[in-house]
Amino acid sequence: MAPMAEVVLKDVVKTFVLQVGGQAQLVNALKGVSFSVRPGEIVALTGPSGCGKTTALRIIMGLESASAGEVRVAGKHVQGCGHDRGMVFQHAELLPWRTALGNVKFGLEMKGLRGKELTERAESYLELVGLKESMGRRPHQLSGGMKQRVGIARALAIDPAVLLMDEPFGALDAQTREVLQAELLSIHAKTGKTIIFVTHDLDEAVLLADRVVLMTKGEVQDIIDINLPRPRPRGDVVAVRAHDEFVQKRYLIWKALHAGAISSVLH
């Protein structure tokens, strides 16, 4: 198993340059974001649309570089992508010409695995997300939830210390989402990965995360600890939902977001 990592963001700034009608326009997507994630912790990033969640995640992944500030994973400066981080994209982004198995193999091939080891490893991760039977299907023959699970298996298979997920369950129906949330919790219990995920769903944030980072307009507005027991009762989501802590924290975040939304409407 890979060594556990700690993710640190310190005063991270990201400025995009946009060309609008021949004029350069600056977009301050992140204006000095700082937070850190402990090894094995699950952290949720949430906040109104356009507040910079995806940008922050892409910078941690190394798909985008910070304009200023520093990003460290396991003490090392992030420079580009690495096998120590795995990304689950919002829309799975499977390669349409590869089967479910082929897609999981992709990351492993890039890591240099070959032959029997490659196939066995890929199969075992498909099994982990409950898709062994469908491994020969291509993405267009899979449902949305199945695609998302292939995406998760692909990221997990390279055994990254940090799993980054951008609204992984956002496009799914409530039932499928609950199944996948439970799966994620059990994968976390089994592997102890550090997980950072973006979500718009407050229930999901409180249900899964140890801490919720609340962002608004490119800044961290608040970081809220969730003191729910872990491992959280798997599948039995009702039990967690009834928990005082769940109700309280959910309300707290809702209020914070709401205040932000109202003030942004007023100003």
């Binding site: 992944m61 190394g62 798909l63 580009g80 992508c81 690495g82 096998h83 981080r85 795995g86 990304m87 994209f89 829309h91 982004e93 390669l95 349409p96 010409w97 992709f106 990351g107 091939e109 890039m110 890591k111 099994e127 982990l128 997300v129 409950g130 898709l131 062994k132 039977e133 469908s134 291509r138 267009h140 023959q141 449902s143 939830g145 199945m146 390279i158 499928t176 199944v179 439970a182 799966e183 059990s186 994968i187 798997r234 599948g235």
Partner: protein, 275 residues
């Protein structure tokens, strides 16, 4: 994990025979050919045999030419430079298109020649080609190559430009090397465009072949066309014309068959009506 997994994950339980649709389409094409052929056959004999011909007359002329061995010789002498020129265009055109599409510097340096070359009036250049390459196999091959490389290259180039950034980012996020991204993401993502280019190039290559034969050696199928036309033997002239068209149709469906073999996902996700 699996116990709680969603249902609906049994391996494909029912296998629907899909050859049925193929067969139906084949029938439609055959029926269409019979109707057109019959109308032509009935209307043809009324025409002056100088100005036109009809299927049974063409068939008789074809049999006559086949018996003398003239036809087979012509086909072989046409097909050799055709295959060589077309394959060479493929071998050069696809990698060139991939590089031009992928790297802006290569695009800036070479793109303009490809775009200009596509519109090149080849017929005007054939005499020059003859000066360079003589009158034999080489000049035919060069002309076929020159005319077919551009649609292949341009289509590949266009296909690479259409590869979604998100697919490239999948490669990047798994630390794929530039070569791996080109080979394992850009190439498969571009395949449908490449195949379209290969199909367009078949028509171009057939035209190039006939043009080459008109101008250079009076040989091959193009040579037969010229000779029979000069003798006002219209029925015989139609023989190589029809052979060329049949050949183009055959090659196009061969490329289509190859596409279904190499890129089966493409036909499956395309939004075409099934029947």
């Amino acid at each position: 994990m699996t116990d709680k997994a969603l249902p609906a994950e049994k391996a494909a339980d029912v296998v629907v025979p899909r050859a049925k649709f193929r067969l139906a389409n084949g029938y439609i094409t055959a029926l269409s050919l019979i109707v057109v052929g019959t109308v032509w056959e009935l209307a043809g004999p009324g025409m002056n045999p100088l100005f036109g011909s009809y299927p049974s007359a063409i068939w008789k002329a074809g049999v006559r030419m086949a018996e003398t061995g003239e036809l087979m010789k012509a086909i072989i002498s046409s097909l050799q430079p055709f295959a060589a020129g077309y394959l060479l265009a493929m071998i050069v055109g696809i990698p060139l298109g991939l590089l031009i599409g992928r790297y802006r510097t290569v695009e800036a340096a070479l793109g303009i020649y490809i775009t200009a070359g596509y519109a090149m009036p080849l017929v005007a250049l054939v005499p020059l080609f003859m000066l360079w390459f003589g009158l034999g196999f080489t000049v035919k091959m060069a002309i076929i190559f020159t005319l077919s490389i551009f649609p292949i290259c341009i289509n590949t180039w266009e296909g690479v430009r259409a590869v979604p950034k998100t697919q490239i980012e999948v490669g990047t996020s798994f630390v794929a090397s530039p070569l791996a991204i080109l080979w394992k993401i850009v190439l498969p993502a571009t395949l449908p465009y490449i195949v379209a280019g290969l199909k367009l190039a078949i028509g171009k290559a057939v035209i190039a072949m006939v043009v080459a034969e008109f101008f250079t050696a009076i040989s091959g199928l193009g040579g037969i066309i010229i000779n029979t036309a000069n003798q006002f033997d219209t029925a015989a002239m139609f023989v190589p014309v029809i052979i060329l068209m049949v050949m183009a149709v055959g090659l196009t469906s061969l490329v289509g068959w190859l596409e279904r073999r190499i890129a089966p996902w493409q036909t499956e996700i395309s939004g075409r009506e099934a029947a």
